[in-house]
């Protein structure tokens, strides 16, 4: 069992958990993830390692379905049955020159650790984060501290630049193009945003999030097409050269279980409602 030492809701439906997992914390690097299973009935789900402190790791996740919603109901002092990792290849940290690290939505969670490592390797790091509105912006101060410069965007203009990170990226590509770019967020955002760097031939990494099971290269559930070849995102990635990724296939494969996910979620709600009613009656 792996203890949760801190559990906070940092934005609407976005949670920050600190989990004691020494075997992961000891060797975790930027870009890597864990696979966790809440309990005996649980599904194995991947979450990016967003920070490390002593023998604890941080994950930041959005409650989108059954597992993440159940996870969000846990509190400090509770424990998770299994945490495997660190998994996946670390980010390709080198001395590039100027780098841009772009996070969208909950994908912002993965950016500070990458920015930090890039900075330590001697790069000038520009961070760009974007969310639908101000209330969904997370880890802003942390990322600012890790970057030389930070640009904040919101889709509705409630804070910072009114627009998308892609707009900022396009501007910079014209003015003072970065040598390498990381883009992390929903698949559609990564697809669109990475399209901007393609004509400039700027090295661009995206972190792919296909459905996974083992996370060790044993099942092939996570297969993605990169440069016309099938790759297993859990061991060959999760970061790949954005310009070679077949995003449409990725998005299609993410929807394999839509019907079952809905069923699981409805059942979970029914169950938690009934429990809540039960508790109310006891009071």
């Amino acid at each position: 069992m792996y203890a949760i030492t801190r559990a906070t809701e940092i934005a609407d439906k976005i949670f920050e958990f600190w989990i004691t997992a020494p075997h992961v914390a000891r060797h975790a690097r930027a870009g890597q993830f864990v696979v966790l299973r809440i309990d005996e009935q649980g599904e194995r789900i991947p979450l990016t390692i967003s920070a490390v402190e002593d023998d604890r790791i941080r994950v930041v996740f959005m409650a989108v379905g059954k597992t993440t919603t159940q996870l969000s109901s846990l509190r400090a002092g509770d424990a998770i049955r299994d945490v495997a990792g660190p998994l996946g290849k670390p980010s390709e940290i080198e001395r590039y020159g100027t780098c841009m690290v772009i996070g969208g939505g909950v994908g912002i969670a993965c950016t500070p650790i990458i920015a930090q490592e890039l900075k330590e390797a001697g790069n000038r790091v520009v961070g760009v984060i974007g969310a639908r509105n101000e209330s969904l912006l997370i880890l802003e101060d942390e990322l600012r501290a890790a970057c030389d410069e930070l640009v904040v965007c919101t889709d509705d203009g409630s804070r910072g630049f009114h627009g998308f990170p892609a707009d900022i990226l396009k501007q910079r590509l014209e003015e003072d193009a970065p040598e390498a770019v990381w883009i992390i967020g929903p698949a559609i955002m990564m697809k669109i945003t990475s399209g901007a760097t393609k004509p400039y031939g700027v090295k661009t990494f995206v972190s792919l999030n296909p459905i996974m099971v083992d996370g060790t290269g044993m099942c092939g559930s996570c297969r993605v097409t990169v440069g016309g070849e099938t790759k297993f995102a859990c061991v060959d990635g999760p970061e790949f050269d954005a310009h070679l990724v077949d995003f449409d296939e990725l998005m299609q494969r993410q929807r394999i279980y839509t019907a079952q996910e809905k069923e699981a979620m409805e059942r979970y709600h029914e169950h938690t409602c009934r429990c809540a009613e039960g508790e109310a009656r006891h009071e």
Partner: protein, 451 residues
């Protein structure tokens, strides 16, 4: 040994073979001729003293029979169920020449189950040597090596990347052939020897290679878990699985019990399984139990199926339809699978293996309407860890190169099981692991003498 009727068993994941009663076991064991030169023992990769344990069963002394078996084999309830006995011990039993060989596997299973019901005896463990051994992987190879080295007094740690031990025994072979409580209880016995099991540890990532090589000896038992794909069009459509994924979702994650368990699997009404080995049979029979009409597609003839005869028979009884001399060329659909296109094959001159080579017949393509395709065309060693170990010699097929005693190109590093041989069998993995462990133990002994 009696079997549950097909119509009953396709509705659940309960064991198909029911095992022997004590009377049946005694009667069967009594048929053994007690050969002076027992060929059966040569057929067993871990050289169990078969005539001796059969004699003990015949005399009704099941406790002694269990002791005899466990001298050589720590996982008898597993091997008794899944060994391909017809090509091993039973295949060379002298009684098979004229009549029916002794059912050695069933008897081994009987004794192991009897022992479990009547109290398990653990083998002795030598005094501690203070030496540390790392075993990577908890499949049959890893478990066997761990047991062997722990008994020799070494302090053994098994690292396993999944959340449960057992390797293919746990995630691959379905419970209707190998119940998971049987696997769990035999693993328990290995751990009871003082072996430390670290789950959720992917060696190469959770345990860096320099840390691994810091142990006094290392045994690699990481198996052949990397699934191959056919590389045909449509392979990444929704509803195409590797057998590994399909079986893992059901056996390890219990997708058959969704939504009580959270992991889903596509519930199809019609499924095509590509391949005809044991893995394909297992995948087909699992799909059948999930309620599908199942086609098993293979490019050669039925007599060429590589699976065990008994499993082919079981699959047939359960209503799996064999589509032979057919080779998939394309998976149809988008975004989900709607069918699989195949071409008819004709059999031509024998190839190097002596089997006729299949050749596509021009213009013979046809499609099967299915909504799930499961590929069971083979698997190789997972390259992840192997490529991280500097200087480890890797063979052409991605396997770790070893000598007869399981030694790799690196001192103090041994390898056994599927990672060294490519996909093979449980008992071959165990036999090789025992050898490697004994070699490692001798090397440590020498180290101790010299220091």
């Amino acid at each position: 040994m009696s079997k549950r009727p097909a119509q009953e068993r396709i509705r659940d994941f309960g064991e198909v073979d029911l095992g022997l009663s004590a009377e049946e076991a005694v009667a069967e064991a009594s048929r053994c001729l007690q050969c002076k030169k027992p060929t059966c023992v040569e057929g067993c990769p871990v050289t169990i003293d078969i005539p001796q344990f059969l004699e003990q069963i015949a005399a009704g002394d099941f406790r002694e029979a269990a002791r005899t078996i466990k001298q050589e084999n720590m996982l008898p309830a597993i091997c008794g169920r899944v060994c391909p006995q017809e090509t091993q011990c039973e295949g060379v039993c002298i009684l098979g020449v004229k009549d029916r060989p002794i059912s050695i596997g069933s008897l081994e299973r009987f004794v192991a189950d009897w022992e479990y019901d009547h109290g398990v005896e653990l083998p002795g463990v030598a005094p501690s040597t203070g030496k540390r051994v790392a075993v990577v992987g908890s499949g049959p190879a890893g478990l066997t090596a761990a047991a062997e080295l722990a008994r020799a007094g070494h302090s053994v740690t098994i690292f396993e990347s999944l959340h449960e031990a057992g390797g293919v025994l746990t995630y691959g072979i379905p419970s209707f052939r190998l119940p998971k409580d049987v696997v769990a209880r035999e693993i328990e016995q290995v751990l009871a020897l003082g072996v430390d099991l670290k789950l959720n540890h992917l060696v190469g990532r959770s345990v860096p290679v320099d840390e691994l090589l810091g142990f006094d000896a290392v045994v690699l038992g990481t198996g052949a878990g990397l699934p191959y794909f056919m590389r045909i069009e449509g392979e990444n459509l929704n509803g195409v699985y590797s057998a590994n994924e399909y079986l893992t979702r059901v056996n390890l994650m219990h997708a058959d019990r969704f939504p009580d368990f959270d992991t889903p699997v596509v519930r199809a009404s019609r499924v095509a399984v590509v391949g005809a080995g044991n893995v394909a049979m297992d995948a087909a029979r699992v799909a059948r139990r999930l309620g599908a009409k199942v086609f098993l597609v293979y490019r050669r003839r039925e007599e060429d199926f590589p699976a065990r005869a008994a499993e082919i028979e079981n699959a047939k009884e359960e209503g799996i339809e064999f589509v032979t001399c057919a080779n998939p060329v394309r998976i149809l659909g988008g975004p989900t699978v709607t069918g699989i296109e195949c071409v008819r094959m004709e059999m031509c001159e024998p190839d190097r293996s002596g089997r006729p080579t299949p050749r596509p017949i021009e213009g013979s393509s046809f499609a099967l309407d299915v909504d799930v395709v499961i590929e069971a065309i083979g698997q190789g060693p997972n390259p992840l860890l192997l490529h991280l170990i500097p200087g480890l010699a890797i063979g052409e097929r991605g396997n770790v190169e070893v000598d007869d005693e399981g030694r790799t190109s690196l001192a103090r590093v041994y390898a056994a099981g599927d990672v060294a041989t490519g996909a093979a069998t449980v008992i071959w993995a165990m036999g090789a692991a025992k050898q490697a462990a004994q070699r490692a133990a001798r090397a440590i002994e020498k180290m101790l003498e010299e220091s």
